[in-house]
Amino acid sequence: MLRLVRVPGTNAPIRSVAEDELWPLAQAAIEGNVVALRTLLTAVSPNILRVVRRVIGASHPDVEDVTQECAVEFVNALRRFRGESSVQHFASRVALRAAMNARRRQRAAKRGTPGPEPIEADETAGNHSPPDAIAASRASMQLARELCDELPAPQAEALALHCVLGYTMSEVASICGAPLETVRSRLRAAKSALMARALADPRLRELVEETA
């Protein structure tokens, strides 16, 4: 059965899995072709980097290490890949899981409830927005990240794929290999928790009040 997939973050047109230009590369890489693996990594690594930046933050000092960790996970997981989704979607899911695990480990190492993510001095310098506007814009990202740390794994994955990486529900279902209704149910619960926190967060008051 053909599935139509899209890759967020690119303007690539709809492709069927059979037309996924990375699928032959993935097959060759699985069979041990090092050149194919190198080309495949070149193709997917920008996507992996995007995922890592969204999960742990672009200014996090461990972006490079976590990206490397995700790339290694992708290469290791490749032998289990059977074309259930596009290669890019597969890479996104592997990178998302590895990045979320890395984030959880770092939070556990800090041994405490972290405060709001600090605003980098470089973000304020030259930025004409006042600091509280910057804080508000980061609050929504921080909410999503914190919920992904705390929710049960299936809900967290669905929330991250939909609200952090921007995949539609049908794409999330395809990526996770789960029925669409199951994904809807998971997202319903996750987004309820997200909304409750947003309503209680003073940094998002303006966003809440602007909605009729």
Binding site: R6, P8, G9, T10, N11, V34, L37, R38, L41, T42, S45, P46, L49, V51, R53, R54, G57, A58, P61, D62, E64, D65, T67, Q68, A71, V72, V75, A121, D122, E123, A125, G126, N127, S137, R138, S140, M141, L143, A144, H162, C163, V164, G166, Y167, T168, M169, S170, R184, L187, R188, K191, L194, M195, A198, L199, L204, L207, V208, T211, A212
Partner: protein, 317 residues
């Protein structure tokens, strides 16, 4: 359309895939649905957070080399490298302080013993104990024939990466012997190895930048460019400086990016991307467009090329 699928419209909007009816529907929802508004706000912030940056090309190339390289050649994690960066200079400073104290006391015997130790070190094939490292405060003249620095592990380019990410400073012979220069001490009795000054300056600047001291790092990058304009680190230093200036002073950043692009080499793709971004910020749209077209033409397989093509086709930088 059921309630949960409203947020699908947000996902499609951020990819510019909405038809006119869907656009109208989304506009209504953005006024009335907090959930849709929150998700739209969130996705915009995440997109900004994950956009391509100058230097990403080389970062990804480094990662690829490590992932595909032999396990024994894999770089240690950044945390271990940072610890090495702190402990190694501290150890060298301790040794040099002790040696300096001995020399100040005028102990001829100490000097004699140290010279014997140094000469023994030079004749042994296996790495011996570290030689005395002269304090960085004094900058002795380099040898007349300085050795060229060892090529760092930058994968496909001649220039070293922008971020060595805590590589040990080349202050200890035996580990980075090729990156040091030998000088004859004034007394002629004590051999000292001075690290390559441009490499050291570059490493110090990168460490400051990693610590969040961007302004201090920028000062060191400028010093490197002024003192060692033809060094291997000059290109990456100029790129790092331009990146720092990008948010604060895009006009100056543009000058640095253009200088980097004109020098050619492995960093030209990053430089062209930086030109397009900074030129747009200062209102030079034509220059920005030209840089994007050059990028697509000269580096069609670069990660930047994909985004550049999208911007050119949409007419939005």
């Amino acid at each position: 359309m059921s309630q949960p699928e409203y947020t699908d419209l947000v996902c499609k909007a951020h990819r510019q895939e909405l038809n006119p009816d869907e656009e109208r529907r989304l506009d209504e929802l953005l006024q009335t649905s907090l959930e849709v508004r929150l998700m739209d706000h969130m996705l915009s912030e995440f997109e900004r957070e994950s956009r391509m940056c100058p230097g990403d090309d080389m970062l990804l190339a480094r990662i690829q080399e490590r992932v595909l390289g032999a396990p024994t050649s894999a770089r240690p994690p950044a945390r271990a490298r940072r610890l090495t960066m702190v402990l190694l200079p501290a150890a060298v400073l301790l040794v040099s302080t002790l040696a300096g104290a001995g020399m100040w006391l005028g102990s001829g015997r100490f000097t004699q013993l140290t010279a014997i130790w140094s000469s023994n070190s030079a004749t042994k094939s296996a790495p011996a104990a570290p030689t005395v490292h002269k304090s960085r405060v004094a900058h002795p003249k380099p040898a007349s024939t300085p050795s060229t620095p060892a090529a760092p592990a930058a994968p496909d380019s001649a220039a070293p990466p922008v971020e060595p990410l805590g590589e040990p400073l080349p202050t200890v012979t035996g580990s980075t012997g090729a990156s040091t220069q030998s000088v004859h001490a004034p007394t002629g009795e004590l051999r000292m190895n001075i690290p390559n000054p441009s490499s050291e300056l570059f490493a110090r600047a990168n460490l400051l930048r990693r610590e969040g001291r961007g302004a201090d790092a920028a000062d060191l990058y400028r010093q490197l460019l002024e003192r060692y304009p033809r060094s291997r680190e000059a290109g990456p230093a100029r790129l790092a400086l331009a990146k720092y200036l990008h948010a604060k002073d895009p006009a100056r950043a543009l000058i640095e990016y253009r200088a980097l692009a004109s020098s050619g080499g492995a960093l030209r793709a990053e430089a062209l991307w930086g030109i397009s971004e900074s030129a747009e910020r200062v209102g030079e749209r034509a220059l920005a467009d030209r840089a994007l077209n050059d990028l697509v033409r000269e580096f069609p397989d670069s990660p930047y090329a994909e985004v550049a093509r999208a911007r050119i086709s949409h007419g939005t930088p």
